[in-house]
């Protein structure tokens, strides 16, 4: 029994790690190719033989081989620890992403809450990286990242509350099931739920969640923490080699993770109408990955289209627009929930 537990744990950990790495690599490749085509370029072409599919792997190998430079002025212990903290915060999200009714590493009652809590750990890592680099650009990048993460943690949480009110559970599996069994005025014709119900009912929440995710991920138009034209590379400036790769992977893994959470919360996750639970365990991952891919494409599209906001404009957006709208969304959702 106890052996069984450890074996299962090991397999689950390996799977989580594998999913994260593959997700990150594929989204890196997606970014390379999509951005290239948006800019009328071809993008990577040679690595791997076809379409340059092995480019992210080649990049990874290159990074691993590179010398790690640790400047004299850094606070070495904190500097070395920071990438792990960031990556850990991102990795832990993957534990609760449900790929099918039973395909989840850990089905927590508090799934949503867990995601929000654990993802905030990355902020500490970013601050550690910014401070320990002993570089003013890094410090400013770290501060910007922290200010932005603090500001956008709130709308992110508040946007989720609407979904939680509707679903009546914090479990991610529970939320998917709640969407599958959503009743329109007391009846559940499955064909009505072809469009995920929360996409309609929580459209405002979805928009806020996506915006806040972009800010959490520090992606354009909210990429001030690493704004290369202002702060060189922000808190990443002094990192090189493997540790830089970790930040890099963490960024893309985080993008996939938040896209997965958004798909689960708002797009029905692994669920597909007219398909039994048993079958969903097989095609669920495909469904979820398709939805993730759509959202990741959206993130990439935005990045290559929009310029970057200014830090104060970002804060104004968060505090003056997103948070009040999210609060109003909660009130409206709660009232409607009680009324119907």
């Amino acid at each position: 029994m106890i052996v069984n537990f450890w074996v299962t744990l090991g397999i689950k950990m390996a799977l989580v790690l594998g999913v994260m790495l593959v997700g990150a690599l594929v989204s890196i490749f997606g970014e390379l190719k999509i951005s290239a085509h948006m800019q009328s370029r071809i993008g990577p072409y040679f690595a791997g033989g076809r379409w340059g599919w092995a480019q992210p792997l080649a990049d990874g190998l290159k990074f691993i081989q590179k010398e790690e430079i640790i400047p004299d002025t850094v606070d070495v212990r904190v500097f070395k620890l920071a990438p792990y903290v960031v990556l850990m915060g991102t990795m832990a999200i993957y534990v609760v992403i449900p790929f099918g009714p039973d395909m989840v590493a850990g089905n927590l009652d508090l799934g949503v809450f867990y995601v929000l809590a654990i993802s905030s750990i990355s902020t500490v890592g970013v601050l550690m990286a910014g401070w320990s680099s002993g570089n003013k650009y890094s410090l400013m990048g770290g501060l910007r990242a922290a200010a932005q993460l603090i500001a956008y943690e709130l709308p992110l949480v508040l946007a989720v509350v609407g979904v939680v009110i509707l679903a009546g559970t914090l479990s991610l599996n529970g939320i998917v099931e709640a969407q599958a069994q959503w009743q329109w005025f007391g009846v559940t014709p499955e064909w009505l739920n072809v469009i995920p119900p929360y996409l309609i009912l929580q459209a405002v929440g979805f928009a806020i969640f996506l915006t806040a995710s972009l800010a959490e991920l520090s992606r354009t138009p909210f990429d001030m923490p690493i704004a290369e034209s202002e702060l060189v590379m922000g808190y990443l400036t002094e990192y090189s080699g493997l540790r830089f790769t970790m930040f890099f992977l963490g960024e893309y893994a985080g993008m996939v993770a938040l896209a997965a959470i958004a798909s689960t919360l708002f797009l029905g996750g692994y669920w597909l109408p007219f398909v039994s639970d048993d079958l969903l365990n097989f095609i669920g991952p495909v469904v979820l990955i398709t939805k993730i891919a759509l959202l990741v494409f959206l993130f990439i599209w935005m990045r290559w289209t929009f310029p970057r906001l200014r830090e104060d404009q970002l804060q104004q957006l968060a505090w003056r627009i997103l948070i009040p709208v999210a609060l109003a969304n909660i009130v409206v959702t709660a009232v409607l929930k009680v009324v119907f």
Binding site: D75, V78, L110, A117, S120, I121, W131, S132, G134, A146
Partner: protein
């Protein structure tokens, strides 16, 4: 004692408690303010793990979200934006007399809490029952609704007070725009 040792969870508890103790010690002895805060993160993380061992999942993630995700980040943010020297600060160290006083106070606190716990429970075994969020919600908004609302009012007052203190003269703000 043998019973105690046979339980795996107790080993975990001991390990985490020891680590927490060391981290807490580093919080007060580190002369580098950021290191101190990071040690505090470790301490709080340890307490989260302890709650996890007790099966209080909600408390765990609340500790992580509120303390590590918000309070510590604000701590670090504040430290870095006001003074962020790399390296060590002499002013963080105190003369031996103060240190002794602090040790006495801390020891007294430890004894007081420990004695209270022992006095209250003794050798009685407390069964850890899994509390769900639903239970907590029902308790909060049922039995404890009045304290809950009072606390929220206090927090609101604190919030407004904080804003008033930190606020700059509106004229200044206009000028800066």
């Amino acid at each position: 004692m043998g019973d105690w040792l046979s339980e795996v969870a107790n080993w975990w508890f001991a390990a985490v408690a020891l680590a927490m103790g060391y981290a807490a010690y580093r919080v007060v002895t580190s002369a580098n303010v950021v290191h101190a805060v990071l040690a505090l993160v470790a301490t709080l993380g340890g307490s989260a793990v302890l709650f996890l061992l007790l099966g209080a999942e909600f408390v765990v993630w609340t500790v992580v979200l509120v303390y590590i995700g918000a309070v510590i980040v604000l701590f670090l943010f504040g430290i870095m934006i006001t003074r962020a020297p790399l390296g060590y600060e002499a002013e963080l160290d105190h003369p031996p007399k103060t240190k002794a006083l602090a040790a006495i106070v801390a020891g007294a606190m430890f004894l007081l809490i420990g004695w209270t716990l022992v006095d209250a429970f003794g050798t009685e075994e407390v069964t850890a029952s899994v509390t769900t969020v639903g239970d907590i919600g029902l308790q909060l908004f049922g039995r404890f609704v009045l304290p809950f609302e009072v606390v929220s009012l206090v927090l609101l007052a604190a919030l407004i007070g904080g804003i008033v203190l930190a606020r700059q003269d509106p004229v200044d703000i206009e000028d800066q725009r």
